[in-house]
């Protein structure tokens, strides 16, 4: 009995669990990456115990890939040495950690997964309870296979009606952030449901679950259904529903009347309708990240770029979220389309999202990105400005060199 979160913890712990309880729970997998991994490894070594299970520890090189400085190469070496010493074999350098956790089959409905990265909420799209932690918490999970949770209360968000043409899950997520504010779900779980979510592919739900942490959510869950079954295979999906749930609050959003939403600098909850900022000149457009770097996102962008040229005054950077997505984009001809249009295509990974590698912004520059963070300094200079939008807006804006409504273009 309870919310998706309560149902998952109840099943997992074999006793009825309710929001507000503090539990120590076993987890399926613990993930860390090239930036958070080294700190987790240092903390783990202080515990002086063996690794809980080398098969359940996932290490991903994605934030700075390949290493761009001697210092970042040093971080990578710390992770490689740890993996060698403790027999960790799930070490990846082929995309963003969150995309790989899903693609590599570590995520199952009803699972509990922890990651040393805030966007670990992404896996909730498949009905898995997953949350982001710091390195020390993850180190303790490396040692014990467990972590502690205060089982969160839940905000239920029902997205009514169908998304109109040219409106995407990113717009829904930004609309909800606009309504609730950047800490609207702090310490809480979010359930995403309603007609618009039921109609969504798993790729689209991953965007919603991903952005849940950007308004403070501890986890962002979708009920597993036929889309989940089609994605994971029948055998992996068992029935998991909220049963007589008591929600902290219930939010209704009308999908049908939505306009493209833009998160404007310097905060994720400074969200405006696109019309309010249309025409704003851009120095960079970034398509990618764990929010919107999947094949469906690249398909949208390729559709706009086909036979056109991006604005010469705006550098346009496309980064597929994983190697698998990159290769699919190659097979479908998207990569050729991007390059013919004048975009730069970089290797799968986090890319410009976190301002540590390529695509860094200088003072006074302005970017539009399909990612999920626009804090001052996020992509480079603290004097640069970042706008966040859906992939169609990014494509149309790259072509025009200014923020542009894609709905007028074919």
């Amino acid at each position: 009995m309870g919310t998706l979160t309560e149902e998952i913890f109840t099943r997992r712990l074999g006793r009825e669990v309710h929001a507000g309880e503090i539990v120590v729970a076993p987890v399926d997998y613990a993930m860390a990456h090239d930036v958070t991994g080294p700190l987790a490894i240092e903390a783990f070594r202080k515990l002086g115990v063996p690794l809980w299970d080398p098969q359940r520890v996932i290490m991903v090189f994605d934030h700075i890939l390949p290493a761009n400085t001697v210092a970042s190469a040093g971080l990578h070496k710390v992770v490689r040495d740890f993996a060698d010493e403790f027999g960790v074999t799930h070490v990846f350098q082929e995309g963003i950690c969150h995309q790989l956790m899903v693609e590599k089959g570590f995520i199952r409905p009803g699972g509990i997964v922890v990651g040393a990265d805030s966007h670990s909420t992404t896996y909730g799209a498949l009905g898995c309870f997953s949350a982001g932690f710091g390195s020390t918490d993850i180190a303790v999970t490396f040692a014990t296979g467990k972590t502690w949770f205060r089982v969160p209360e839940t905000i239920r968000i029902n997205l009514r009606g169908a998304l109109p043409p040219g409106i995407f899950p990113k717009d829904l997520a930004l609309k909800v952030i606009r309504m609730l504010g950047a800490e609207g779900a702090n310490y809480l779980a979010v359930e995403w449901g309603g007609e618009a979510v039921e109609a969504m592919s798993v790729d689209e739900r991953l965007t919603l679950a991903n952005l849940t942490v950007d308004f403070g959510g501890k986890a962002g869950l979708c009920e597993p259904d036929e889309h989940t079954r089609a994605y994971l295979g029948e055998a992996e999906v068992y029935d998991l529903h909220p049963i007589a749930p008591v929600y902290r609050s219930l939010i209704e959003v009308d999908a049908q009347t939505l306009e493209p939403q833009i998160a404007c600098p310097p905060a994720i909850d400074n969200v405006q309708d696109l019309s309010a900022v249309a025409g704003t000149e851009l120095d960079e457009v970034f398509v990618g990240s764990c929010a919107n770097g999947r094949i469906e996102d690249l398909a949208i962008v390729a559709g706009y770029f086909k036979g056109r040229q991006v604005s010469p005054r705006t550098r346009t950077i496309v980064v597929p979220a994983s190697k698998q997505i990159y290769m699919e984009a190659l097979a479908r001809g998207y990569i050729q389309t991007f390059m013919e249009a004048g975009a730069l295509v970089m290797n799968a990974g986090c890319g410009p999202c976190l301002g540590r590698q390529h695509g860094v912004l200088g003072p006074g520059e302005r970017a539009l990105s399909t990612s999920n963070r626009n804090y001052a300094g996020r992509m480079g200079s603290a004097q640069a400005e970042i706008y966040l939008a859906n992939p169609a807006v990014a494509a149309a804006s790259a072509l025009a060199g200014v923020i542009t409504d894609p709905r007028g273009l074919n």
Partner: protein
């Protein structure tokens, strides 16, 4: 006398330690780069024992533990804020940086005011004005008592947390 550094709302982990400066696990290096873009004079002027007063949603954004590490290594004794982002709060407690939620203090104090804090009781004295911070939850209290999460788990294992749950 310790002084307070007042910050606004939504101080992100990107502001505390920007991406290009947290390519290290060295606490001292992180401390030197603390707020390097957002408040470039911070690391040079902060004295051991000073206190940060933050607005709402302090520490929002990425889960990088480098952020509380940087604040602690810079010499800050505690962060008092109107509210904290969940992961930052947990990370700070885990590494032994006291974080205290207190709403009333924010509008009543100014950058540079003298401050003293009793970490155990949550009592805060700013130039004779007294404020009471919220007491931490049972797990946070247990970790603070032990020093860090690593100290707690190393000495007592999960039993320490199961006991208070």
């Amino acid at each position: 006398m310790a002084r307070l550094f007042k910050f606004g709302d939504a101080i992100s982990t990107d502001a505390i330690i920007p991406g290009c400066y947290n390519v290290t696990t060295d606490a001292a290096a992180l401390g030197k780069a603390c707020f390097i873009e957002a408040r470039p004079d911070f690391a040079g002027t902060v004295q051991q024992g000073d206190v940060i007063i933050g607005g709402r949603n302090f520490g929002c954004g990425s889960s990088r533990e480098h952020a509380p590490m940087a604040i602690k290594a810079a010499g800050i004794q505690a962060v008092v804020a109107r509210s904290f982002a969940r992961i930052f709060y947990r990370n700070a407690i885990n590494i032994g940086l006291p974080v205290i939620q207190c709403d009333a203090i924010y509008d009543a104090v100014e950058d540079g005011d003298p401050i003293s804090i009793d970490i155990h009781s949550g009592g805060i004295d700013v130039d004779g004005k007294m404020f009471q911070g919220e007491t931490p939850g049972p797990v946070a209290a247990a970790i603070m008592e032990a020093g860090t999460l690593i100290d707690l788990i190393k000495t007592r294992g999960w039993a320490a947390i199961e006991e208070v749950s």
